[in-house]
Point group: C2
Chain length 547, copies 2
């Protein structure tokens, strides 16, 4: 029996596009002689469809898609994820289902049991959990159908859940397991996924076919990495990351698999490739080709410019250099060098005159108060306004260049340098941005070395350095990671040897700046805990602020 | 037996403040001779604490608060909502509980059963549901303790749930029911709440004591409206809306209640009072006193200025009038008249010179392209920058003045007029803003009549009117309400008699502008479906966009 895994890139809510994509892959799989072709979780709608699921019209359109798919199942079985209406009045209106269709008939629909409701996931908001489990018989094989999280409570080890659907299905003695997934990328996830899937194979003793989405859906990036695992727990092949792929497996070859085929798990390779795909899909899926960003001569905008150029092509990226009276000479030079290295268009617009005109207009109202963060922010907002003007005039989307360390502590100007349609590196801590820069320069000096080695500065007042107002990034990032990723309280962090005043100051900054994060662009998610839907914090709150 | 209902206003995560508040109300209730004093759901932490619940440190601090409360329960029983650690490994880490404490001992903890996971609610993200139910015995009375949603599945009528905890508790024959709630305001909710609570009393035949939070937590506003209902289903008294209140009820007086005491349910009164409290608490809880906003002479900024003045006092509100070459004379006059009526400080800063300096600086890059939305947006962003400059210099929080119709269709400039710390009327459709203006002017002409009667205009180009680019607000708002509140698809809306081209255009505008809503300030929620956490939409998506 030949089983095809179709790792596809969908667009949320674009039923015509997704259906055409599915039909195309069915045709390819059929051509290659597959008996079954498997698509990811909620493949008709794209994942995550969020509150579109509350629109009956949306579910109706998904059913229409399934109906078109059904007509293409002559001589090939299709396994595909889609939402189902719950026919019972009680409980949530929908199920998250995997549908088995063959010869224009739906043979079986298995609903998802374990509904992730943590981090970016909201499945209990929409779906009722399965309460019955069965398998499907096809060409003499007994097949267990599961959806994503259903395989993540093995041995009831996951504290989040109290049921394990595979245990229920094993009563029917399946010959193999199919899992359709929407399992988002983070730099640590692929290894964990392989481990969990292998454990399932060890526990149940049958081969496993796993299909994941690929592609970015705004902030959420799917890496693919679909795979088949033989019953000896060896990975027959892990499909490529960050690209669409169809792979045909022959079940008969699975009896004695010795060589495992994996993708690299190098952290910077993964982050780099994920961010490039994140930019590419953001633009592609909203129908824009061109990006713009401000190039300061600093590291963050340099890394962002490189990633954008890789994603969109050098002819589709333009940058603005916007010096002020506080800009150093090397900033202009470093920025120019980078633009030349990348072969992207750059223009220089001084913000001096506009800045002066603001000060003149505001002068009667400023009551002779001294230069402070006000004047710094005016500069940042002039730059934002200039970039948005070109964005509006020429249809370039502005890329935000903030890093995760700055986003955490609110080191940035709302409506100024925090502007942009998508935040490219705001889930990458400053210390990791350095690593990424070295990764980018691994063959050639694309990012000027001076940009990497000079002390970081916002250059919004004379001789300013980041270190004037922030602790060293080495220490800051460690504290942030313990608080944000680790969800540790101040005492737990202090007990690890950090200065108590510093810890309290940093945590307070993180909490107080929730209002800024609330108003910034979606953040391409590459870590296990990114800003955005996966981290939901009150804005007006005083946790850790009163001391 | 005397039962006190303590309708309190908490600050999320401010354990010192909340505990002091609870202790103060315990003392007052004791002074008044109460046997029991009841506080709202999650009163120790404030509601909604969101992902702070994932911090063990946060839960520990809540337990500390409970411990302090325990020491104050000599001669008075305290019923209070708080999170509990789930001692079992399986399932979510927490319960959402109501705790009964008397004489320094915790007599009983009942966990919440029905966990709302829709609209703004995320309780399945954090909490395990109760699986055991009992009552507490106190001074010869048998008391059933419930948490909010637990009373909202009467007769198993609520399709969201399959269990009804009160049915379980009735086996123990309670003498009355206590319900601790965190039930957010919307203009239709109070009537619904009374109906549901009365139905509970009818079904179970015993009195009910219901305590709700009051106060705004960023976007979510709690109206209070706590109440006691006698067993003949008459409301003994509904507590005041939008203010803290302690009320003592004598159970012995409940045998024959004839007169019901309610608060007004007039929609504009409720919206007005909710928005005033929303502003007041936003400022009070982040420790700011002063607001700033731009006054255009139009209706939205006028209404916002009035609400801000009521909330903060005229000495704490200042406005900027920022005319351009496209401003009409009446705009300045209308804005000045309003500022004078309110007695608030106003200043006039022309944006002409700054606008010219942008055009000069940008000129080499604009390629002689004609005036378009670019130049409109530059003006809006100059105004945003001027307002933020004064905000930064003097510590005034900028109020956003966008209405819900504009927010829906994206009629506004990101980083320009969409700036601000909190969006005051962005859950109020334009047609409702008119109603609110008439309500404000019910005694005197506070808002100049000319502001109300003139055709709405953004005044960003010569002779511009809203109606140049938008349908009449009467029609637009109806379509928006069907789509946003009603979650109806295009065909359902068209079948109600609306023009199909218009419907498709409007729905597409709503979906396409999700990226703007993602980057704007939190919206004070007054409707059953507001922008923000209660409406979670993908940004990159094509639902209804491809046709």
């Amino acid at each position: 029996m030949k089983i095809a895994l179709a790792q596809i890139n969908t667009i949320i809510g674009d039923f015509e596009y997704n259906t055409a994509k599915i039909l195309d892959y069915i045709a390819q799989a059929k051509e290659a002689g597959a008996d079954i072709v498997v698509f990811p979780e909620l493949a008709t709608t794209g994942y995550p469809p969020r509150d579109f699921l509350e629109f009956k019209d949306f579910i109706r359109r998904s059913e229409n898609s399934l109906n078109q798919v059904r007509k293409a199942t002559k001589d090939i079985a299709v396994v595909v994820g889609a939402p189902s209406l719950n026919p019972v009045v009680e409980g949530k209106d929908l199920y998250n289902s995997v549908v088995f269709i063959y010869d224009e008939k739906e043979l079986y629909r298995q609903h998802k049991t374990l509904l992730p409701t943590y981090d970016i996931f909201d499945e209990a908001r929409y779906f009722e959990e399965a309460s019955t489990w069965d398998i499907v018989n096809f060409k003499g094989k007994r097949i267990a159908l599961t959806v994503c999280e259903d395989l993540w409570n093995l041995g009831n080890d996951n504290p989040l859940y109290t049921i394990n659907p595979m245990d229920e299905m094993m009563q029917h003695q399946p010959d193999f397991i199919i899992n359709v997934s929407a399992s988002p990328f983070d730099y640590a996830h692929a290894s964990e996924r392989i481990k969990v899937l292998k454990e399932n194979v060890r526990a149940y003793g049958v081969p496993l076919f796993y299909v994941n989405h690929v592609g970015a859906q705004t902030d959420i990036i799917f890496d693919g990495g679909s795979m088949a695992i033989a019953s000896n727990q060896n990975v027959v092949k892990e499909l490529p990351y960050f690209e669409e792929h169809l792979e045909i497996f022959n079940l008969e070859d699975f009896s004695d698999v010795q060589k495992e085929i994996f993708q690299t798990k190098n952290k910077m390779t993964l982050i780099h490739d994920a961010l490039v795909l994140g930019i590419k899909d953001y633009f592609g899926k909203i129908g824009f080709k061109n990006a713009i960003l401000g190039l300061s001569g600093g590291l963050d905008s340099a890394v962002t410019a490189v990633l954008a150029t890789e994603a969109l092509g050098k002819e589709n990226v333009r940058v603005l250099l916007m010096p002020s009276q506080f800009s150093s000479d090397h900033s202009i030079k470093d920025a120019e060098d980078l633009a030349k290295n990348l072969g992207i268009r750059y223009d220089i617009v001084s913000i001096k005159d506009v800045f002066e005109s603001y000060l003149t207009s505001l002068n009667p109202l400023l009551e002779q108060k001294p230069f402070d963060v006000t004047e710094e922010n005016i500069q940042a907002r002039i730059r934002g306004n200039l970039l948005m003007a070109l964005s509006n005039k020429f249809g370039n989307i502005l890329l935000n260049t903030t890093n995760k360390s700055e986003m955490s502590v609110g080191y940035g100007t709302l409506y100024g340098d925090l502007s942009g349609g998508i935040s490219v590196i705001a889930d990458v801590y400053k210390t990791e941005v350095y690593e990424l820069a070295h990764y980018i320069n691994r063959h050639d000096e694309i990012i000027p070395n001076n940009t990497i080695v000079k002390p970081p500065s916002a250059e919004l007042r004379p001789d300013q350095k980041d270190s004037d107002s922030l602790p060293d990034y080495e220490i800051l990032d460690e504290i942030l990671r313990l608080y944000i990723e680790g969800r540790k309280g101040p005492n737990d962090i202090i007990s690890l040897g950090f200065d108590d005043k510093l810890v309290n100051r940093v945590l307070k900054m993180v909490n107080r700046n929730e209002f800024k994060r609330h108003q910034t662009a979606p953040v391409l998610r590459v870590s296990p805990k990114a800003f955005g839907m996966g981290r939901r914090m009150p804005i007006v709150a005083k946790y850790l602020e009163t001391k």
